[in-house]
Protein backbone atom coordinates (compact mmCIF):
# COMPACT_ATOMS: atom_id res chain seq x y z
CA UNK A 1 0.00 0.00 0.00
CA UNK A 2 2.69 2.46 0.99
CA UNK A 3 4.75 1.17 -1.90
CA UNK A 4 1.97 1.91 -4.24
CA UNK A 5 1.77 5.38 -2.79
CA UNK A 6 5.47 5.99 -3.23
CA UNK A 7 5.74 4.42 -6.67
CA UNK A 8 2.60 5.57 -8.41
CA UNK A 9 0.53 8.14 -6.61
CA UNK A 10 3.24 10.43 -5.35
CA UNK A 11 4.99 11.07 -8.67
CA UNK A 12 1.77 11.56 -10.58
CA UNK A 13 0.42 13.95 -7.98
CA UNK A 14 3.67 15.83 -7.79
CA UNK A 15 3.81 16.35 -11.54
CA UNK A 16 0.14 17.22 -11.69
CA UNK A 17 0.57 19.72 -8.86
CA UNK A 18 3.48 21.30 -10.68
CA UNK A 19 1.36 21.60 -13.80
CA UNK A 20 -1.56 23.07 -11.89
CA UNK A 21 0.72 25.61 -10.23
CA UNK A 22 2.18 26.65 -13.56
CA UNK A 23 -1.30 26.78 -14.94
CA UNK A 24 -2.45 29.21 -12.25
CA UNK A 25 0.49 31.46 -12.94
CA UNK A 26 -0.28 31.26 -16.65
CA UNK A 27 -3.94 32.01 -16.06
CA UNK A 28 -3.04 35.08 -14.10
CA UNK A 29 -0.60 36.34 -16.69
CA UNK A 30 -2.83 35.74 -19.69
CA UNK A 31 -6.01 37.07 -18.12
CA UNK A 32 -4.45 40.10 -16.48
CA UNK A 33 -4.15 42.44 -19.51
CA UNK A 34 -7.82 42.14 -20.39
CA UNK A 35 -8.82 42.51 -16.75
CA UNK A 36 -6.76 45.69 -16.60
CA UNK A 37 -8.59 47.01 -19.67
CA UNK A 38 -11.90 46.18 -18.09
CA UNK A 39 -11.01 47.85 -14.82
CA UNK A 40 -9.70 50.90 -16.61
CA UNK A 41 -12.89 51.27 -18.63
CA UNK A 42 -14.95 50.75 -15.48
CA UNK A 43 -12.72 53.18 -13.63
CA UNK A 44 -11.94 50.70 -10.88
CA UNK A 45 -8.66 50.33 -9.05
CA UNK A 46 -8.75 47.00 -7.24
CA UNK A 47 -6.07 45.91 -4.81
CA UNK A 48 -3.66 43.26 -6.00
CA UNK A 49 -5.45 40.40 -4.27
CA UNK A 50 -8.82 41.53 -5.56
CA UNK A 51 -7.27 41.77 -8.99
CA UNK A 52 -5.88 38.26 -8.81
CA UNK A 53 -9.26 36.91 -7.82
CA UNK A 54 -10.83 38.73 -10.74
CA UNK A 55 -8.43 37.17 -13.21
CA UNK A 56 -9.44 33.76 -11.88
CA UNK A 57 -13.17 34.31 -12.13
CA UNK A 58 -13.72 35.77 -15.58
CA UNK A 59 -16.68 34.16 -17.33
CA UNK A 60 -14.77 33.87 -20.61
CA UNK A 61 -11.12 33.94 -19.63
CA UNK A 62 -8.29 33.72 -22.10
CA UNK A 63 -6.93 30.86 -20.04
CA UNK A 64 -9.38 29.51 -17.50
CA UNK A 65 -8.02 28.80 -14.04
CA UNK A 66 -7.79 25.11 -13.11
CA UNK A 67 -10.57 25.28 -10.56
CA UNK A 68 -12.92 26.82 -13.13
CA UNK A 69 -12.23 23.94 -15.44
CA UNK A 70 -12.49 21.45 -12.61
CA UNK A 71 -15.86 22.74 -11.49
CA UNK A 72 -17.19 22.74 -15.04
CA UNK A 73 -15.78 19.28 -15.65
CA UNK A 74 -17.26 17.97 -12.43
CA UNK A 75 -20.70 19.41 -13.11
CA UNK A 76 -20.82 18.17 -16.67
CA UNK A 77 -19.47 14.76 -15.82
CA UNK A 78 -21.11 13.77 -12.58
CA UNK A 79 -24.14 15.95 -12.14
CA UNK A 80 -25.76 15.37 -15.52
CA UNK A 81 -27.57 12.27 -16.61
CA UNK A 82 -25.22 10.44 -18.97
CA UNK A 83 -27.71 10.64 -21.81
CA UNK A 84 -28.04 14.40 -21.63
CA UNK A 85 -26.47 16.42 -24.45
CA UNK A 86 -24.76 18.48 -21.76
CA UNK A 87 -23.02 15.52 -20.21
CA UNK A 88 -19.34 15.12 -21.00
CA UNK A 89 -19.75 11.41 -20.42
CA UNK A 90 -22.24 11.32 -23.27
CA UNK A 91 -19.96 13.28 -25.58
CA UNK A 92 -16.94 11.22 -24.60
CA UNK A 93 -18.85 8.08 -25.35
CA UNK A 94 -19.84 9.32 -28.79
CA UNK A 95 -16.24 10.17 -29.54
CA UNK A 96 -14.92 6.97 -28.03
CA UNK A 97 -17.17 4.77 -30.13
CA UNK A 98 -16.04 6.25 -33.43
CA UNK A 99 -12.44 6.25 -32.18
CA UNK A 100 -12.59 2.55 -31.44
CA UNK A 101 -14.21 1.74 -34.76
CA UNK A 102 -11.62 3.82 -36.61
CA UNK A 103 -8.76 2.39 -34.59
CA UNK A 104 -9.81 -1.17 -35.27
CA UNK A 105 -10.15 -0.54 -38.99
CA UNK A 106 -6.94 1.50 -39.10
CA UNK A 107 -4.87 -1.11 -37.30
CA UNK A 108 -6.19 -3.83 -39.53
CA UNK A 109 -5.60 -1.80 -42.68
CA UNK A 110 -2.12 -0.83 -41.50
CA UNK A 111 -1.19 -4.44 -40.88
CA UNK A 112 -2.63 -5.57 -44.20
CA UNK A 113 -0.68 -2.89 -46.05
CA UNK A 114 2.51 -3.74 -44.18
CA UNK A 115 2.08 -7.41 -44.97
CA UNK A 116 1.57 -6.55 -48.63
CA UNK A 117 4.61 -4.34 -48.75
CA UNK A 118 6.87 -6.83 -47.02
CA UNK A 119 5.78 -9.73 -49.19
CA UNK A 120 5.14 -8.29 -52.63
CA UNK A 121 8.03 -6.48 -54.27
CA UNK A 122 5.79 -4.71 -56.74
CA UNK A 123 3.77 -3.29 -53.88
CA UNK A 124 6.88 -2.27 -51.98
CA UNK A 125 8.08 -0.37 -54.99
CA UNK A 126 4.88 1.18 -56.24
CA UNK A 127 2.63 1.51 -53.22
CA UNK A 128 4.84 2.73 -50.41
CA UNK A 129 5.67 6.11 -51.96
CA UNK A 130 1.99 6.76 -52.49
CA UNK A 131 0.99 5.76 -49.02
CA UNK A 132 3.46 8.30 -47.76
CA UNK A 133 2.03 10.85 -50.13
CA UNK A 134 -1.48 10.03 -48.97
CA UNK A 135 -0.51 11.02 -45.46
CA UNK A 136 0.92 14.33 -46.52
CA UNK A 137 -2.48 15.27 -47.85
CA UNK A 138 -3.94 17.32 -45.05
CA UNK A 139 -6.87 14.99 -44.47
CA UNK A 140 -8.21 17.26 -41.80
CA UNK A 141 -8.52 19.94 -44.44
CA UNK A 142 -10.47 17.55 -46.58
CA UNK A 143 -12.48 16.08 -43.74
CA UNK A 144 -15.42 18.40 -44.38
CA UNK A 145 -15.45 17.56 -48.08
CA UNK A 146 -15.23 13.87 -47.29
CA UNK A 147 -18.09 14.07 -44.84
CA UNK A 148 -20.08 16.02 -47.41
CA UNK A 149 -19.38 13.56 -50.19
CA UNK A 150 -20.10 10.55 -47.98
CA UNK A 151 -23.31 12.15 -46.78
CA UNK A 152 -24.29 12.71 -50.40
CA UNK A 153 -24.01 8.98 -51.06
CA UNK A 154 -25.93 8.21 -47.91
CA UNK A 155 -23.15 7.34 -45.49
CA UNK A 156 -23.72 9.22 -42.27
CA UNK A 157 -23.41 8.72 -38.57
CA UNK A 158 -20.48 6.86 -37.06
CA UNK A 159 -18.87 5.62 -40.23
CA UNK A 160 -17.58 8.85 -41.82
CA UNK A 161 -15.95 9.89 -38.56
CA UNK A 162 -14.50 6.43 -38.12
CA UNK A 163 -13.14 6.60 -41.66
CA UNK A 164 -11.21 9.74 -40.83
CA UNK A 165 -9.83 8.00 -37.75
CA UNK A 166 -8.89 5.07 -39.93
CA UNK A 167 -7.08 7.30 -42.35
CA UNK A 168 -5.04 8.88 -39.58
CA UNK A 169 -4.30 5.67 -37.69
CA UNK A 170 -3.37 3.20 -40.39
CA UNK A 171 -0.16 4.99 -41.28
CA UNK A 172 1.71 4.66 -37.97
CA UNK A 173 0.75 1.00 -37.91
CA UNK A 174 1.84 0.45 -41.51
CA UNK A 175 5.22 2.15 -41.01
CA UNK A 176 5.88 0.39 -37.72
CA UNK A 177 4.82 -2.98 -39.00
CA UNK A 178 6.89 -2.77 -42.17
CA UNK A 179 9.86 -2.24 -39.88
CA UNK A 180 8.72 -4.87 -37.43
CA UNK A 181 7.99 -7.52 -40.02
CA UNK A 182 11.44 -6.99 -41.43
CA UNK A 183 13.16 -7.15 -38.07
CA UNK A 184 13.67 -10.90 -37.51
CA UNK A 185 17.30 -11.92 -37.20
CA UNK A 186 18.95 -13.29 -40.30
CA UNK A 187 19.52 -16.61 -38.57
CA UNK A 188 15.84 -17.07 -37.87
CA UNK A 189 14.91 -16.25 -41.45
CA UNK A 190 17.57 -18.69 -42.64
CA UNK A 191 16.11 -21.33 -40.37
CA UNK A 192 12.68 -20.88 -41.90
CA UNK A 193 14.24 -21.10 -45.33
CA UNK A 194 15.80 -24.42 -44.48
CA UNK A 195 12.32 -25.70 -43.64
CA UNK A 196 11.15 -24.28 -46.95
CA UNK A 197 8.45 -22.60 -44.90
CA UNK A 198 5.86 -20.82 -47.00
CA UNK A 199 5.53 -17.07 -46.77
CA UNK A 200 2.43 -17.52 -44.69
CA UNK A 201 4.19 -19.78 -42.21
CA UNK A 202 7.17 -17.48 -41.98
CA UNK A 203 4.74 -14.66 -41.36
CA UNK A 204 2.74 -16.31 -38.62
CA UNK A 205 5.54 -18.10 -36.88
CA UNK A 206 8.38 -15.64 -37.23
CA UNK A 207 7.69 -12.21 -38.66
CA UNK A 208 4.57 -11.47 -36.66
CA UNK A 209 5.93 -12.47 -33.24
CA UNK A 210 9.16 -10.60 -33.96
CA UNK A 211 7.22 -7.47 -34.84
CA UNK A 212 5.25 -7.32 -31.61
CA UNK A 213 7.30 -4.57 -29.93
CA UNK A 214 6.97 -2.44 -33.05
CA UNK A 215 3.27 -3.22 -33.30
CA UNK A 216 2.42 -2.03 -29.85
CA UNK A 217 4.53 1.10 -30.06
CA UNK A 218 2.72 1.89 -33.30
CA UNK A 219 -0.68 1.05 -31.91
CA UNK A 220 -0.21 3.49 -29.06
CA UNK A 221 0.45 6.24 -31.56
CA UNK A 222 -2.39 5.03 -33.75
CA UNK A 223 -4.98 5.02 -31.01
CA UNK A 224 -4.08 8.58 -30.13
CA UNK A 225 -4.29 9.54 -33.79
CA UNK A 226 -7.68 7.84 -34.05
CA UNK A 227 -8.98 9.94 -31.24
CA UNK A 228 -7.77 13.12 -32.91
CA UNK A 229 -9.37 11.94 -36.14
CA UNK A 230 -12.68 11.21 -34.46
CA UNK A 231 -12.73 14.61 -32.80
CA UNK A 232 -11.91 16.38 -36.03
CA UNK A 233 -14.48 14.31 -37.87
CA UNK A 234 -17.13 15.61 -35.54
CA UNK A 235 -16.59 19.21 -36.51
CA UNK A 236 -18.19 19.33 -39.92
CA UNK A 237 -21.21 17.32 -38.91
CA UNK A 238 -22.83 20.44 -37.61
CA UNK A 239 -21.60 20.09 -34.06
CA UNK A 240 -24.18 17.63 -32.88
CA UNK A 241 -22.45 15.32 -30.47
CA UNK A 242 -18.99 14.37 -29.35
CA UNK A 243 -16.01 16.06 -27.77
CA UNK A 244 -15.25 17.78 -31.07
CA UNK A 245 -18.67 19.36 -31.17
CA UNK A 246 -18.23 20.61 -27.61
CA UNK A 247 -14.93 22.18 -28.59
CA UNK A 248 -16.45 23.76 -31.66
CA UNK A 249 -19.52 25.21 -30.05
CA UNK A 250 -17.36 26.40 -27.19
CA UNK A 251 -15.08 28.19 -29.59
CA UNK A 252 -17.90 30.07 -31.36
CA UNK A 253 -18.86 31.71 -28.16
CA UNK A 254 -15.38 31.93 -26.66
CA UNK A 255 -16.58 29.65 -23.88
CA UNK A 256 -13.06 28.78 -22.96
CA UNK A 257 -14.04 27.02 -19.77
CA UNK A 258 -16.29 24.64 -21.68
CA UNK A 259 -13.54 24.10 -24.21
CA UNK A 260 -11.00 23.25 -21.57
CA UNK A 261 -13.38 20.89 -19.85
CA UNK A 262 -13.88 19.15 -23.19
CA UNK A 263 -10.12 19.05 -23.71
CA UNK A 264 -9.71 17.47 -20.30
CA UNK A 265 -12.36 14.91 -21.18
CA UNK A 266 -10.50 14.16 -24.42
CA UNK A 267 -7.25 13.75 -22.53
CA UNK A 268 -8.82 11.40 -20.03
CA UNK A 269 -10.13 9.30 -22.89
CA UNK A 270 -6.66 9.37 -24.44
CA UNK A 271 -4.96 8.25 -21.26
CA UNK A 272 -7.43 5.41 -20.90
CA UNK A 273 -6.96 4.29 -24.49
CA UNK A 274 -3.18 4.52 -24.51
CA UNK A 275 -2.96 2.78 -21.17
CA UNK A 276 -5.25 0.02 -22.39
CA UNK A 277 -3.06 -0.54 -25.44
CA UNK A 278 0.05 -0.46 -23.27
CA UNK A 279 -1.38 -3.00 -20.86
CA UNK A 280 -2.44 -5.28 -23.67
CA UNK A 281 1.07 -5.00 -25.04
CA UNK A 282 2.55 -6.00 -21.73
CA UNK A 283 0.21 -8.94 -21.35
CA UNK A 284 1.03 -10.15 -24.84
CA UNK A 285 4.75 -9.80 -24.26
CA UNK A 286 4.51 -11.67 -21.01
CA UNK A 287 2.59 -14.45 -22.73
CA UNK A 288 5.40 -14.55 -25.26
CA UNK A 289 7.88 -15.25 -22.51
CA UNK A 290 9.56 -11.87 -22.52
CA UNK A 291 12.35 -11.69 -20.03
CA UNK A 292 11.70 -9.21 -17.23
CA UNK A 293 14.00 -6.20 -17.72
Amino acid sequence: MTDRFRDKILPVTAILLAIVAAWYVGAYMLNAPFQRDLDRRAGETPTFSEFVVKTMTQPKPTLPAPHQVAVNFYENTFLRSVTSARSLVYHSWVTLSSTLAGFAMGTLLGIVIAVGIVHVTTLDRSLMPWIITSQTIPILALAPMIIVVLAAVGITGLLPKALISTYLSFFPVAVGMVKGLRSPDAIHLDLMRTYNASKAETFWKLRLPASVPFLFASMKVAVAASLVGAIVGELPTGAVAGIGSKLLSGSYYSQTIDMFAALVAGSVVAVLLVTAVGLTGRIVERAMGARPA
Binding site: D185, I187, H188, D190, L191, M192, R193, T194, Y195, N196, A197, E201, K205, L206, P209, V212, M288, G289, A290, R291
Partner: protein
Amino acid sequence: MSVVQAQGLGLTFNTNDGPVHALSNVNLTIEKGEFVSFIGPSGCGKTTFLRVIADLEQPTDGTITVNGLSPREAREARGYGYVFQAAGLFPWRTIERNVALPLEIMGYPKVEIAQRIARTLDLVNLKGFEKKFPWQLSGGMQQRASIARALAFDADLLLMDEPFGALDEIVRDHLNEQLLQLWDRTNKTICFVTHSIPEAVYLSTKIVVMSPRPGRVTDVIESTLPKERPLDIRESPEFLAIAARVRDGLRAGHSYDD
Protein backbone atom coordinates in the same frame (compact mmCIF):
# COMPACT_ATOMS: atom_id res chain seq x y z
CA MET B 1 23.46 -40.33 -57.57
CA SER B 2 25.64 -38.22 -55.31
CA VAL B 3 23.98 -36.19 -52.61
CA VAL B 4 26.28 -33.20 -52.98
CA GLN B 5 28.42 -32.49 -55.99
CA ALA B 6 30.43 -29.27 -56.11
CA GLN B 7 32.58 -28.29 -59.05
CA GLY B 8 34.89 -25.31 -59.12
CA LEU B 9 32.71 -23.75 -56.47
CA GLY B 10 33.64 -20.19 -55.44
CA LEU B 11 32.00 -17.53 -53.33
CA THR B 12 33.12 -13.96 -52.84
CA PHE B 13 31.45 -11.55 -50.41
CA ASN B 14 31.46 -7.90 -51.31
CA THR B 15 32.04 -5.85 -48.18
CA ASN B 16 32.50 -2.18 -47.42
CA ASP B 17 36.27 -2.57 -47.61
CA GLY B 18 36.75 -4.90 -50.53
CA PRO B 19 35.85 -8.43 -51.52
CA VAL B 20 36.30 -11.40 -49.18
CA HIS B 21 36.99 -14.72 -50.90
CA ALA B 22 35.19 -17.14 -48.64
CA LEU B 23 35.39 -20.14 -50.97
CA SER B 24 37.45 -20.77 -54.05
CA ASN B 25 37.57 -23.67 -56.47
CA VAL B 26 36.01 -26.24 -54.18
CA ASN B 27 35.52 -29.67 -55.77
CA LEU B 28 33.79 -32.21 -53.63
CA THR B 29 31.45 -35.16 -54.04
CA ILE B 30 29.43 -36.58 -51.18
CA GLU B 31 27.68 -39.89 -51.71
CA LYS B 32 24.49 -41.04 -50.09
CA GLY B 33 24.98 -42.41 -46.59
CA GLU B 34 28.34 -40.77 -46.03
CA PHE B 35 29.26 -39.03 -42.80
CA VAL B 36 31.48 -36.13 -43.84
CA SER B 37 33.29 -33.93 -41.34
CA PHE B 38 34.61 -30.51 -42.23
CA ILE B 39 37.54 -29.27 -40.27
CA GLY B 40 39.66 -26.21 -40.73
CA PRO B 41 40.82 -23.01 -39.10
CA SER B 42 38.31 -20.45 -38.00
CA GLY B 43 37.11 -18.37 -40.93
CA CYS B 44 38.08 -20.85 -43.64
CA GLY B 45 34.62 -21.13 -45.13
CA LYS B 46 33.08 -24.21 -43.49
CA THR B 47 29.89 -22.44 -42.56
CA THR B 48 29.77 -20.77 -45.94
CA PHE B 49 30.02 -24.11 -47.71
CA LEU B 50 27.20 -25.58 -45.66
CA ARG B 51 25.13 -22.51 -46.38
CA VAL B 52 25.70 -22.91 -50.09
CA ILE B 53 24.47 -26.51 -49.91
CA ALA B 54 21.44 -25.28 -48.00
CA ASP B 55 20.73 -22.56 -50.59
CA LEU B 56 21.23 -19.83 -48.03
CA GLU B 57 24.13 -18.34 -49.96
CA GLN B 58 24.54 -18.10 -53.74
CA PRO B 59 27.91 -19.24 -55.15
CA THR B 60 29.58 -16.72 -57.41
CA ASP B 61 31.52 -19.37 -59.34
CA GLY B 62 31.18 -22.98 -60.30
CA THR B 63 28.26 -25.32 -59.88
CA ILE B 64 26.75 -27.39 -57.14
CA THR B 65 23.96 -29.95 -57.12
CA VAL B 66 22.14 -31.42 -54.12
CA ASN B 67 20.41 -34.75 -54.68
CA GLY B 68 20.93 -34.03 -58.35
CA LEU B 69 18.88 -30.86 -58.09
CA SER B 70 19.88 -27.26 -57.67
CA PRO B 71 20.25 -26.32 -53.99
CA ARG B 72 17.08 -24.32 -54.32
CA GLU B 73 15.03 -27.20 -55.58
CA ALA B 74 16.50 -29.43 -52.92
CA ARG B 75 15.54 -26.95 -50.24
CA GLU B 76 12.04 -26.72 -51.61
CA ALA B 77 11.81 -30.49 -51.43
CA ARG B 78 12.71 -30.13 -47.74
CA GLY B 79 15.71 -32.30 -48.37
CA TYR B 80 17.74 -31.48 -45.28
CA GLY B 81 17.89 -30.43 -41.65
CA TYR B 82 20.30 -27.71 -40.52
CA VAL B 83 21.83 -27.10 -37.10
CA PHE B 84 23.28 -23.61 -37.02
CA GLN B 85 26.46 -22.60 -35.29
CA ALA B 86 24.41 -20.42 -32.94
CA ALA B 87 21.31 -21.92 -31.36
CA GLY B 88 18.85 -19.49 -32.97
CA LEU B 89 15.87 -20.45 -30.86
CA PHE B 90 12.76 -18.28 -31.08
CA PRO B 91 12.66 -16.31 -27.83
CA TRP B 92 8.88 -16.27 -27.71
CA ARG B 93 8.52 -20.05 -27.89
CA THR B 94 9.15 -22.50 -25.09
CA ILE B 95 11.68 -25.22 -25.71
CA GLU B 96 9.10 -27.80 -26.74
CA ARG B 97 7.39 -25.32 -29.04
CA ASN B 98 10.76 -24.50 -30.57
CA VAL B 99 11.27 -28.16 -31.33
CA ALA B 100 7.73 -28.34 -32.67
CA LEU B 101 8.37 -25.50 -35.15
CA PRO B 102 9.62 -27.53 -38.13
CA LEU B 103 7.06 -30.24 -37.41
CA GLU B 104 4.23 -27.71 -37.52
CA ILE B 105 5.54 -26.31 -40.76
CA MET B 106 5.87 -29.70 -42.33
CA GLY B 107 2.37 -30.55 -41.28
CA TYR B 108 2.93 -33.44 -38.90
CA PRO B 109 -0.19 -34.51 -37.00
CA LYS B 110 -0.57 -33.21 -33.44
CA VAL B 111 -0.08 -36.55 -31.72
CA GLU B 112 3.06 -37.30 -33.62
CA ILE B 113 4.47 -33.86 -32.87
CA ALA B 114 4.07 -34.53 -29.16
CA GLN B 115 5.76 -37.92 -29.49
CA ARG B 116 8.66 -36.55 -31.47
CA ILE B 117 9.19 -33.68 -29.06
CA ALA B 118 9.35 -36.08 -26.18
CA ARG B 119 11.68 -38.44 -28.01
CA THR B 120 14.18 -35.85 -29.25
CA LEU B 121 14.26 -33.82 -26.02
CA ASP B 122 14.97 -37.05 -24.26
CA LEU B 123 17.73 -37.80 -26.75
CA VAL B 124 19.52 -34.55 -25.96
CA ASN B 125 18.78 -34.95 -22.27
CA LEU B 126 16.54 -31.94 -21.88
CA LYS B 127 13.62 -33.69 -20.25
CA GLY B 128 12.01 -31.47 -17.69
CA PHE B 129 12.84 -28.26 -19.57
CA GLU B 130 9.98 -28.45 -22.07
CA LYS B 131 8.16 -25.45 -20.72
CA LYS B 132 11.16 -23.17 -20.26
CA PHE B 133 11.94 -20.25 -22.50
CA PRO B 134 15.33 -20.15 -24.22
CA TRP B 135 16.77 -17.44 -21.99
CA GLN B 136 16.16 -19.67 -19.00
CA LEU B 137 18.57 -22.27 -20.37
CA SER B 138 22.32 -22.47 -20.18
CA GLY B 139 24.36 -22.08 -23.36
CA GLY B 140 24.88 -25.79 -23.80
CA MET B 141 21.24 -26.54 -23.16
CA GLN B 142 20.22 -24.08 -25.85
CA GLN B 143 22.55 -25.76 -28.27
CA ARG B 144 21.06 -29.12 -27.44
CA ALA B 145 17.57 -27.75 -27.96
CA SER B 146 18.58 -26.61 -31.41
CA ILE B 147 19.97 -30.07 -32.16
CA ALA B 148 16.71 -31.59 -31.02
CA ARG B 149 14.87 -29.24 -33.35
CA ALA B 150 16.87 -30.46 -36.35
CA LEU B 151 16.55 -34.12 -35.41
CA ALA B 152 12.83 -33.97 -34.77
CA PHE B 153 11.91 -34.41 -38.40
CA ASP B 154 13.21 -36.94 -40.89
CA ALA B 155 15.61 -35.29 -43.28
CA ASP B 156 17.84 -37.44 -45.45
CA LEU B 157 20.62 -34.89 -45.30
CA LEU B 158 21.75 -33.34 -42.04
CA LEU B 159 23.92 -30.22 -42.08
CA MET B 160 25.41 -29.63 -38.64
CA ASP B 161 27.61 -26.62 -37.90
CA GLU B 162 29.62 -27.28 -34.74
CA PRO B 163 26.63 -28.76 -32.99
CA PHE B 164 28.56 -29.98 -29.97
CA GLY B 165 30.85 -26.99 -29.49
CA ALA B 166 29.37 -25.92 -26.16
CA LEU B 167 29.07 -29.38 -24.61
CA ASP B 168 31.22 -31.14 -22.11
CA GLU B 169 33.10 -34.29 -22.99
CA ILE B 170 30.65 -36.69 -21.42
CA VAL B 171 27.56 -35.30 -23.08
CA ARG B 172 29.52 -34.98 -26.25
CA ASP B 173 30.55 -38.61 -26.22
CA HIS B 174 27.00 -39.57 -25.51
CA LEU B 175 25.63 -37.50 -28.35
CA ASN B 176 28.37 -38.70 -30.69
CA GLU B 177 27.26 -42.25 -30.07
CA GLN B 178 23.62 -41.37 -30.46
CA LEU B 179 24.33 -39.61 -33.72
CA LEU B 180 26.29 -42.54 -35.07
CA GLN B 181 23.47 -44.89 -34.16
CA LEU B 182 20.93 -42.66 -35.81
CA TRP B 183 23.06 -42.42 -38.94
CA ASP B 184 23.60 -46.14 -39.01
CA ARG B 185 19.94 -46.89 -38.53
CA THR B 186 18.50 -44.38 -40.99
CA ASN B 187 21.20 -44.22 -43.65
CA LYS B 188 21.19 -40.45 -43.58
CA THR B 189 23.92 -38.36 -45.15
CA ILE B 190 25.55 -36.06 -42.63
CA CYS B 191 27.76 -32.99 -43.16
CA PHE B 192 29.33 -32.11 -39.87
CA VAL B 193 31.54 -29.15 -39.00
CA THR B 194 33.74 -29.61 -35.96
CA HIS B 195 36.91 -28.30 -34.42
CA SER B 196 37.65 -31.49 -32.59
CA ILE B 197 39.99 -33.79 -34.48
CA PRO B 198 39.08 -36.90 -32.45
CA GLU B 199 35.42 -36.18 -32.96
CA ALA B 200 35.92 -35.83 -36.71
CA VAL B 201 37.87 -39.05 -36.94
CA TYR B 202 35.54 -40.98 -34.68
CA LEU B 203 32.40 -40.02 -36.56
CA SER B 204 33.30 -39.73 -40.20
CA THR B 205 33.59 -41.83 -43.26
CA LYS B 206 35.24 -38.87 -44.94
CA ILE B 207 37.11 -35.91 -43.49
CA VAL B 208 37.43 -32.69 -45.48
CA VAL B 209 40.27 -30.45 -44.35
CA MET B 210 39.99 -26.82 -45.40
CA SER B 211 42.30 -23.83 -45.27
CA PRO B 212 41.52 -20.15 -45.30
CA ARG B 213 41.90 -17.01 -47.39
CA PRO B 214 40.63 -18.04 -49.80
CA GLY B 215 38.76 -20.99 -48.37
CA ARG B 216 39.66 -24.17 -50.23
CA VAL B 217 39.80 -27.90 -49.65
CA THR B 218 43.37 -29.00 -48.95
CA ASP B 219 42.80 -32.64 -48.11
CA VAL B 220 40.04 -35.23 -48.30
CA ILE B 221 40.64 -38.24 -46.09
CA GLU B 222 38.59 -41.40 -46.53
CA SER B 223 38.36 -43.13 -43.20
CA THR B 224 39.45 -46.74 -43.06
CA LEU B 225 37.73 -47.34 -39.70
CA PRO B 226 34.93 -49.93 -39.61
CA LYS B 227 31.38 -48.79 -39.51
CA GLU B 228 30.94 -50.29 -36.05
CA ARG B 229 32.83 -47.95 -33.71
CA PRO B 230 32.94 -48.44 -29.97
CA LEU B 231 34.20 -45.40 -28.05
CA ASP B 232 37.56 -47.05 -27.32
CA ILE B 233 38.37 -47.26 -30.99
CA ARG B 234 39.85 -43.84 -30.29
CA GLU B 235 42.91 -45.45 -28.80
CA SER B 236 43.57 -47.68 -31.83
CA PRO B 237 46.68 -46.91 -33.92
CA GLU B 238 44.58 -46.66 -37.05
CA PHE B 239 42.53 -43.95 -35.43
CA LEU B 240 45.60 -42.09 -34.24
CA ALA B 241 47.14 -42.26 -37.69
CA ILE B 242 44.16 -40.63 -39.28
CA ALA B 243 44.05 -38.03 -36.53
CA ALA B 244 47.69 -37.20 -37.14
CA ARG B 245 47.05 -36.72 -40.82
CA VAL B 246 44.16 -34.41 -40.10
CA ARG B 247 46.26 -32.44 -37.62
CA ASP B 248 49.00 -32.01 -40.20
CA GLY B 249 46.54 -30.80 -42.78
CA LEU B 250 45.10 -28.39 -40.31
CA ARG B 251 48.47 -27.07 -39.26
CA ALA B 252 49.55 -26.60 -42.86
CA GLY B 253 46.55 -24.40 -43.47
CA HIS B 254 47.42 -22.09 -40.62
CA SER B 255 49.13 -18.81 -41.07
CA TYR B 256 51.09 -19.10 -37.84
CA ASP B 257 52.82 -22.16 -36.57
CA ASP B 258 54.75 -20.82 -33.61
